[in-house]
Symmetry: C2
Subunit: 224 residues, 2 copies
């Protein structure tokens, strides 16, 4: 059984060989992989390597796009060759922004994920004031799924309540402080775990060690 874990490959320094090797050892045990902007800017072919290692895993290009529609569409076009889903922020809004990105990803058969809130402490200063507007943008754009931080379970509960059928991906588990299982317990579909797994000497053993945390909060199995 695959755990509701998406492995964040953000600290690999763009090393495609190491990423492909790590992914191939983990893909039967986790739900997918998230490849961040630092790795993609390293230009080492890491996305293609992970796709080759794990043909049927969910692979997310974590571009955190936040620009005008034309630029977001062009940026997404660089990753649709190997990714299933692209992460963008909600704050560019719909018109001349996410409308164009959503239409493009739909035309390519790829998924859009919108960020509801970020996981670092400073982000709440601005994001908390516009959470209702962000939820409104998510409702209007109707992305495949939502990104909400494990460090703030109240936001996961809010998003789960507003969008009962949408996958929720939660970063912030492990190095950023949230306990494995805590985001799923609050209503998330997947927890994104990076450094805890990737920086370990024995990543497979770390993943296997996570199973009880999910079993405890998902007695009936995965929500999706």
């Amino acid at each position: 059984m695959r755990l509701p874990v998406i492995v964040g490959l953000d600290t690999l320094g763009g090393d495609a060989g190491r990423a492909g090797d790590l992914a191939s050892r983990l893909c039967s045990r986790v739900s997918g992989f998230k490849i961040g902007l630092p790795n993609l800017l390293s230009c080492g072919g890491i996305g293609e390597a992970v796709r080759e290692a794990c043909p049927d895993s969910l692979i997310v290009a974590d571009l955190k796009l936040a620009d005008i529609g034309n630029t977001m569409r062009l940026a997404a076009s660089r990753v649709v060759g190997w990714s299933d889903a692209v992460i963008a922020h909600a704050f560019p809004g719909v018109e001349g922004g996410l409308d164009e990105l959503k239409a493009y990803l739909d035309s390519e058969g790829r998924k859009l994920l919108l960020v509801a809130a970020m996981s670092n402490p400073g982000a709440s200063r601005i994001a908390d004031k516009v959470l209702e507007e962000v939820v409104g943008v998510i409702g209007e754009v109707d992305p495949w799924g939502v990104v909400a931080p494990a460090t703030r379970p109240s936001i996961i509960r809010l998003i789960r309540g507003r969008f009962p059928g949408k996958p929720i991906l939660s970063p912030g588990v492990g190095a950023q402080g949230a306990e494995p299982g805590s985001a799923v317990n609050a209503g998330a579909s997947y927890e994104i775990i990076g450094r805890l797994i990737v920086d370990s000497e024995e990543p497979l053993r770390v993943v296997e060690g996570l199973a009880p945390a999910y079993k405890a909060v998902m007695p009936g199995g995965s929500r999706f």
Copy 2:
């Protein structure tokens, strides 16, 4: 004399040869170049090519970063080899976000630019509600400069009033509708012009044709 124009190279499809050629023809007439995420994700070495063509121009890596500090720092580390400045959003806030990015760029002798507002119509839905908070983050982080849209001169005036000494870069001139000269007239230091120049058959002639627009609004020469 160099015009207060920064050429946005967003539509070149990652073609480093074309970018280097275009830049070498323009760098004595414009103030700099902005290289966007789509081009950088194309992995064609476009940043290095523009730097080689124009060693003393201001070269801006337009990553529009909006993530936790650790990820923004790693992403910025991929472009400091050829760029003078990196664009990030104010939305991530200070703690665990822009504080880490600013410290990293300072340590590398590179400039930080923070986005005050975006230029697409839909962006005002969220951004207008938090403009005061965004200005507060800019004041606290103290970046080298600010990005404010030419399509919204009232925001340029606000930022110029709050931060009299900071360079302001304004996108939105040309294809997005603002007239050349209008953002400088409102208080911007540079106008970012992309498609109008880059998609032209005769980019140098387009740039030369812009000179009167700036002469009219800058009788005393550039502000910076």
